[in-house]
């Protein structure tokens, strides 16, 4: 072998063919070990972990499941002293604030996506995108804290009295605005929660908007459509499944949100009759009562809530995933 002008002698102790065989054998062995050790963790994450999570939760909540059955879901009394547990207030609270938050976040996210894809000057684009995405990076407890110390007093002093005064006497929907302006209620919680899920929804929506072939948009412009008409009648219908995917992803996020909601919801195990009453959610009940649960049935009932949350959010996210996958397929076909 020649290297740098010098001749280096290579000693080969074994005949070449035998050595090659050995290398091959070792290589195969390493390959096998490598593959199984990686595969082990892949299977752990993809199968073992979700399934065992489900069974652990099921086992822990078994006591409560046996005692209350499916009646737990419709039971309205949550009384740790009398050992009567019903999950409806928490489930209802979770669904209510998720619904309200998504209701606020959807138009805002679509607006932000339109702004980012169509309106913003090129140099400002990464700044706006980054700023909106940074909203997702702020820890949930910070939202809770800022909400609790700053937003709640503001809302309680300026916004809610106004709403109660002007809207509570309206026919039919007036009862929604009844109550005391305390700031610790579904109204504040869902506004803060909506801010937390906006980045998730906006980034999916924005990505799908970017996927619309420009030729489609240009055709609409060519027919004399205004910018809004192009967005409303071409881009949004074209990306409907992307928007829906983002929406469902945001729902999944909102369902599991804990700390911000714990600060703002008030931990009141009652079904709220209006926007301005304190309420509880599954995550709030878990965060507040888990370490206080002094009886097995109490703890088991909390696990019952946890498994309900786990199943709901898993199903919601599966739906989101399937929609996004369908969308990807569509795009792949179109790119060719």
């Amino acid at each position: 072998m020649e290297r740098d002008g010098a001749i280096i002698e290579v000693e080969v102790s074994l005949p070449i063919s035998q050595r090659a065989k050995e290398v091959k054998k070792n290589g195969r062995l390493v390959e096998l070990i490598f593959k199984t050790s990686l595969g082990f963790w892949a299977i752990f994450l993809g199968v073992v972990f979700p399934i065992s999570a489900f069974f652990i939760l099921a086992k822990e909540s078994w006591l409560s499941i046996k005692r209350f059955g499916f009646g737990f879901i419709t039971g309205t009394v949550w009384d740790p002293v009398a050992l009567v547990f019903g999950g409806l207030p928490a489930i209802y609270g979770t669904l209510l604030i998720t619904f309200l938050a998504v209701l606020i976040a959807t138009p805002v996210s679509i607006g932000i996506s339109i702004f980012i894809t169509e309106l913003v000057p090129k140099w400002l684009k990464p700044i706006v995108t980054g700023a909106v995405e940074l909203l997702a990076a702020i820890p949930s407890i910070i939202y809770g804290m800022c909400g609790f110390f700053v937003f709640v007093p503001f809302v309680a002093k300026h916004v809610e009295p106004f709403l109660i005064e002007n809207f509570s006497r309206l026919p039919v929907i007036g009862f929604v605005f009844n109550g005391i302006p305390s700031g610790i209620d579904a109204f504040t919680t869902s506004i803060v929660l909506s801010v937390m899920i906006i980045p998730f929804m906006a980034s999916v929506t924005k990505d799908s908007f970017n996927m619309v072939p420009s030729i489609v948009k240009e055709s609409a412009y060519g027919l004399g459509a205004t910018k809004w008409e192009v967005m409303r009648k071409v881009v949004i219908p074209y990306t409907a499944s992307g928007i829906a995917g983002g929406l469902i992803l945001a729902i999944g996020r909102a369902l599991g949100e804990t700390m911000a909601v714990t600060f703002l919801a008030g931990n009141n195990p009652q079904i709220p009759k209006s926007l301005f009453e304190p309420l509880t959610t599954i995550t709030v009940a878990l965060a507040n009562q888990f370490t206080e649960a002094d009886t097995d049935l109490y703890l088991s009932s909390l696990y019952y809530l946890a498994i309900i949350l786990f199943v709901i959010s898993f199903l919601v996210l599966v739906t989101a995933k399937l929609m996004v996958l369908r969308l990807e397929k569509q795009w792949k076909v179109k790119q060719i």
Binding site: A42, I141, I142, C146, L255
Partner: protein, 308 residues
């Protein structure tokens, strides 16, 4: 009497006005989003900045009600908990991610596993805490900070696995084929070619994962719990920054609130800086990890790189 031309003109003007109105609304929504970011950050600065002092890092907590003291115990605890979680989470996440990308590309079964992992990214974090409580805290009989690390690691693993997978998919097939042509084994290709090519991307994923778990509170509430004293034994309950902030905010003392603001400011800045670093390293990675759509935005990077 109006002519046809007038009517048409008026219709056009009307449509233009409608368009203007809605575009203005969409601008306002963007301002609304950015407003919240600045509002939260300015709140943190206004309320927290003046309470940051060196004692916060150097002193332990005073007994409740006695003014002064610091949060050294929480900073140390937080560092220990997140470091252990990061080691576990990154190892498992990267392993699984490599498997998804390199061995499972053509297998429907493994792609299904990958999609399930993608879904697990969004599992409510408090459920992870409840899981670890059932598996570890209950049998042991007391709160244990290792449990907090495990809960955080479980949150981190899917995130890292998915980003690793996405990043490895970006490595051009030609590089692999070239290595195959030299007679390399798959493990050699992975270690010497694809991992090297994708290391910056994987690092970005790791940073994002750390940023994500640093701000988590819920899974720590009933695993590592809290501790008013400095504790370095990972088998004992340990204070963390986020749980301490929770305790202080809910507590009655004003100086607790002040310290909570200061601690939150430091925590948020840390998380934001990590996120921004990740964002700068790879423009196109989103903090929101919105499923496989990342791969779409990365598609452009790939195209761009090819052109280079």
């Amino acid at each position: 009497m109006e002519g046809k031309a007038d009517i048409r003109k008026r219709a056009i003007i009307r449509r233009r006005i409608i368009s203007r109105v809605f575009l203005t609304i969409s601008t306002l929504t963007a301002i609304y989003g950015i407003f919240w970011l600045f509002w939260i950050l300015s709140d943190l600065f206004i309320n927290g900045f003046r309470y940051i002092h060196i004692g916060l890092l150097m002193e332990d907590m005073n007994p409740a009600g006695v003014k002064g003291g610091g949060l050294r115990h929480a900073f140390v605890g937080h560092l220990i908990i997140t470091s252990i979680a990061t080691v576990m989470g990154v190892t498992v996440g990267v392993f699984a991610g490599i498997f998804f990308a390199e061995y499972g590309r053509d297998s429907r079964f493994i792609q299904a596993l990958r999609n399930v992992t993608d879904i697990m990214v969004s599992t409510p974090s408090i459920v992870m805490g409840a899981l670890v409580y059932a598996v570890l805290v209950k049998p042991v009989g007391h709160f244990i900070s290792l449990g907090g690390s495990i809960a955080l690691a479980l949150i981190m693993m899917p995130v890292i696995a998915i980003t690793t997978d996405e990043m490895l998919k970006l490595v051009p097939g030609m590089m692999r084929e070239a290595a195959y042509a030299l007679g390399a084994y798959k493990w050699q290709i992975i270690i010497k070619v694809t991992l090297r090519a994708a290391k910056v991307g994987i690092l970005t994923g790791v940073i994002l994962g750390i940023a994500r778990i640093t701000g988590e509170t819920a899974p720590l509430l009933f695993t590592s719990f809290n501790n008013n004293f400095l504790e370095t034994n990972i088998l004992k309950p340990m204070a963390s920054l986020t749980v301490t902030v929770f305790q202080f905010v809910m507590g009655p003392y004003d100086y607790w609130h002040e310290q909570a603001w200061a601690a939150s400011l430091i925590l948020t800045m840390g998380v934001l800086i990590l996120s921004i670093i990740a964002k700068i390293i790879i423009n196109g990675v989103s903090f929101t990890v919105p499923f496989a759509l990342i791969s779409r935005s990365l598609f452009f990077i790939r195209k761009f790189r090819k052109e280079e």
